[in-house]
């Protein structure tokens, strides 16, 4: 049976001050996918994300989430369908539980002063799922970067979205926390059937975790498909203008990328290899 399309983008162009930053983008993400957007700095990854969240108005094209045109959704309806974990995170002076309860705003009435029993249950559910329940009463400002990112993901989950957008979720983390965060997202994706779209710079992490990749180059899609199809040395050299070696991870059988320094390249050339 064909899976439902959770994110459907057709001929989408948008940018800042009537200048095209991304042009004519079209792709579909089926329900339950773990997709990644890759591309060099300035290739339009964040602009595309801001288009999907309707932060930037489209200059052309249409974006549908679970069949709904995002421009026609009210603010709260949109927040019930799309949750975002942003790249820049400034810790606020509130404890983890209160922070997660903010994720319930899309479901609350305008003058609802107190959280409902359901809100508390959902917050508790995602706190334990993301393993931040032990930090429940800790202030966000007193937590490490890794813990904060887990709380950010938990807060996005309390929105119970159809689509989870992650903008560089591992950019400020060490490898242990990078793996911890991505393992969590993978688990959520598989256990809850959550559709995930992630902007990521690290090609190895993208190849290891995502089942579908969209490679952007100067605001356009260069290649899209499975990691094996997208992460070839040819594509990477074309888009990133960098010489790399691609191999297969012997355990996961996913593509891995090795960088080669300029000096080694020169030595290699002069020795005739």
């Amino acid at each position: 049976m064909m899976k439902k399309e959770m994110l459907d983008i057709k001929n989408f162009s948008c940018g800042y001050a009537s200048k095209f930053n991304i042009e004519n983008i079209s792709f579909c993400i089926p329900q339950g996918s773990f997709a990644g957007i890759i591309g060099p700095n300035g290739s339009g990854k964040t602009t595309l994300f801001r288009g999907i969240t309707n932060e930037l108005s489209p200059l052309s094209g249409i974006i549908k989430v679970n069949g709904h045109d995002i421009r026609k959704l009210r603010y709260k309806e949109r927040a019930q369908r799309i949750a975002v974990v942003s790249q820049n995170f400034e810790a606020v002076n509130m404890n983890v539980e209160d922070y997660l309860l903010l994720g319930r705003i899309p479901y609350q009435r305008r003058l609802q002063f107190f959280e409902s029993k359901k809100d508390i249950e959902i917050v508790n559910k995602y706190m334990s799922l993301t393993k931040v329940d032990c930090l429940k009463n800790k202030l966000m400002t007193e937590m490490s970067g890794g813990e904060q990112q887990l709380a950010n993901i938990a807060r996005a989950l309390t929105q119970e979205p159809d689509l989870l957008l992650l903008d560089e979720p591992t950019s400020q983390l060490d490898i242990s926390h990078q793996v911890q965060v991505l393992n969590l997202i993978q688990r959520l994706n598989q256990q809850l059937g959550l559709t995930v779209l992630m902007n990521i710079h690290d090609l190895n992490l993208a190849g290891e975790y995502c089942d579908y990749l969209i490679m952007l180059d100067s605001g356009k899609i260069h290649t899209q498909g499975t990691p094996e199809k997208v992460l070839t040395y040819k594509n990477i050299e074309e888009v990133y203008d960098t010489v790399v070696v691609t191999e297969t991870n012997p355990i996961s059988k996913k593509p891995v990328i090795f960088l080669v320094s300029e000096q080694v390249l020169k030595q290699n050339k002069s020795s005739g290899n």
Partner: protein, 336 residues
Amino acid sequence: MNKKYLKWIFIIGLLILALIVVIGVALTTGELQISIFDVWNILQKGQGSIEYTIIHDIRLPRILLGLAVGGALSVSGVILQAIYRNPLVEPYTLGISGGASLGIAIVFVFGLHLSLGALILPFAGFTGALLSMILVYYLAIKQGKIKIQHMLLIGLMISFIASSALMLLMSISSTENLHGIIFWIMGSLDEPNRTLINLNLGVSVFGLVATCFFVQPLNALRLGEEKARHLGINTETAIRTLFLIASLLAGVSVAVAGVIGFVGLIIPHLMRLWVGSDYRILILSSYISGSIFIILSDAVARTIILPNELPIGVITGIIGGSIFVVVLSRSSKKII
């Protein structure tokens, strides 16, 4: 019931109790000391007596105005600090006081209060405050969207321009007018017009209730504008409306009571340190504390150098500022 909510109920109860005590103190102290146990009797049966006149016509209106102005300025400060996410913002840093003072100075210099009556003063103050806020608001709109940091800078600049224009007017005005301007700028709760006091009270309570409708946006804005939108908040509409409410609250207060500085800065900060930054408790607790602070400051200003009276702005500045510095330097909490 949730422990957090019980704590909030306790805080509000405590503040209401403190407000009642402060009102009692303000009603009974002054040049003529009146026992708290006699107040009710005097108000019921003592019509025509000196005590009745003092309580009913002098102290009670000042208390009511203090309640309205203190609450309004505090809530206005809470709103503006939330919108700008900047702890240094208060109604007066954004040009409200500059605009209002300029309006008042124009009335004095051109002698409009002599030809049009004293009611022109609060009207001119309010118009000045409103005009400067409208100017700040529209100059900060770029490509149809409000630029918050822009707004802050423009507010500061308008404030500077207004105070320079005020100095110009003061330097060319007569000694008599100069005295009038300075007296008004220093702020006072001495307002003989009951209608203005009632109007102020009405606007102040309306502003408080209206702000309560925006608790969700205010809480979401703690994460920043874009993240608040991701949580389903129409930030553009929320910020516009909140800015209007804050301008109305501050503008009406300045128009009637003159410039009473620091309240909008100190009270929200002290409350943040005590009750936290959740706007569900912060708005109401700031309103009540602001009222307590102003009523108490006014009582001190009336009695400290009897039989003379100090401008209330002197008390709020010196006492409020000192308490604030001490509390802030001892606290390790982050306040925004």
